[in-house]
Amino acid sequence: VNDGDFSSCSQELAFFGTVTAAVSHELANILLIVDQVGGLLGDLAGSVASGQNVSSERLNVLHDRITRQTQRGIEQIKALNRFAHSIDEPDQPVGVNSQVETVLILTRRLLAHAQVELSVRWLEEEISLKGSPFLVMNIFFITLNEALRTAGKGDLIEVELIENHPFVTIVVDGPAGTSPVSGEAMQDRVHILAEELGGGVKIRTEGERRRIHLQFPRETELTTL
């Protein structure tokens, strides 16, 4: 293994580590809440058994808590499953909306902790790229992470997916920040990964905002057929 391979591998492992840590934290919280709400229902059952009244409204509130947490857990598990299978085939159709959504679900906790405002403009219809879903997610994650690094509490990060035939562009627009060091490392890494998919990266800083354009060739109709 040469230094370049090791560096690339360690960065991909860092992506994997960040995602799984965030998801495991989310799932631990969800299970803890469901466990405690279940415990509270048990407490209430004990109260009823000892002759106290428990209102249906109170039970409905607890039912809703369990339903919300269960849905939250299902969403995390589904996204984690898509993430896990993203390395099954190195060359397969990659739905852009789907991959961006997966990363946003998996990094929900990171986004919440950064206290940023996130706005997403999706493609009206799903468009496929030809390539590795893992690479697409990794590139978007690195870019999003860079936007989080330079964003402060309450800052707006805008993600926009644009069809510009024969390409699809993912734009991440966020605060420009003051420290370019990590930004340069991010650019180098994203350039390498995007080229692996036959795409490219453009970065424009306008005033206090920086727009990172990730451009990928879409799967051609010929390949689709």
Binding site: N29, L32, G39, L40
Partner: protein
């Protein structure tokens, strides 16, 4: 006789509301806060024996709350709650604190708080 007064702080609102309700039903005066800012406001308005705080929270983190509590409310005992096995306890203030790992049972939480306040088993007052 006064009951144990506990402030639960976690950005998971449904967790702290549920825990508070379960503790209240066991005779413990528990209140909930969903951010560090809310927690500090509550600490300034009320008296608490124990602060149960999640280490990782948006905004004012658990670690920052601990520093403020140690400075402004030295009588309040601090119980850190974390889902990361304690490996992320970096600051000396965090390492000095009592820790409870997520997930936990309500009985574990009560036992830990009782131990911190030197209360006999079964007593929450």
């Amino acid at each position: 006789m006064k009951s144990m007064r506990v402030l639960l702080v976690d950005d998971e609102e449904e967790l702290v509301l549920t825990l508070a309700e379960r503790l209240n039903s066991r005779g413990i005066d528990a209140r909930a806060a969903t951010s560090g800012t809310d927690a500090l406001a509550s600490l300034r308005e009320n008296r608490f024996d124990i602060l149960v705080v999640d280490l990782k929270m948006p905004g004012v983190s658990g670690s920052e709350i601990i520093k403020i509590v140690e400075r402004e409310f030295p009588q309040v005992r601090i119980l850190l709650v974390t889902g990361h096995g304690g490996s992320e306890l970096e600051e000396p203030t965090e390492q000095r604190s009592e820790v409870l790992l997520k997930p936990f049972k309500i009985e574990d939480l009560i036992a830990k708080m009782r131990e911190m306040l030197n209360l006999p088993e079964g007593c929450v007052m």
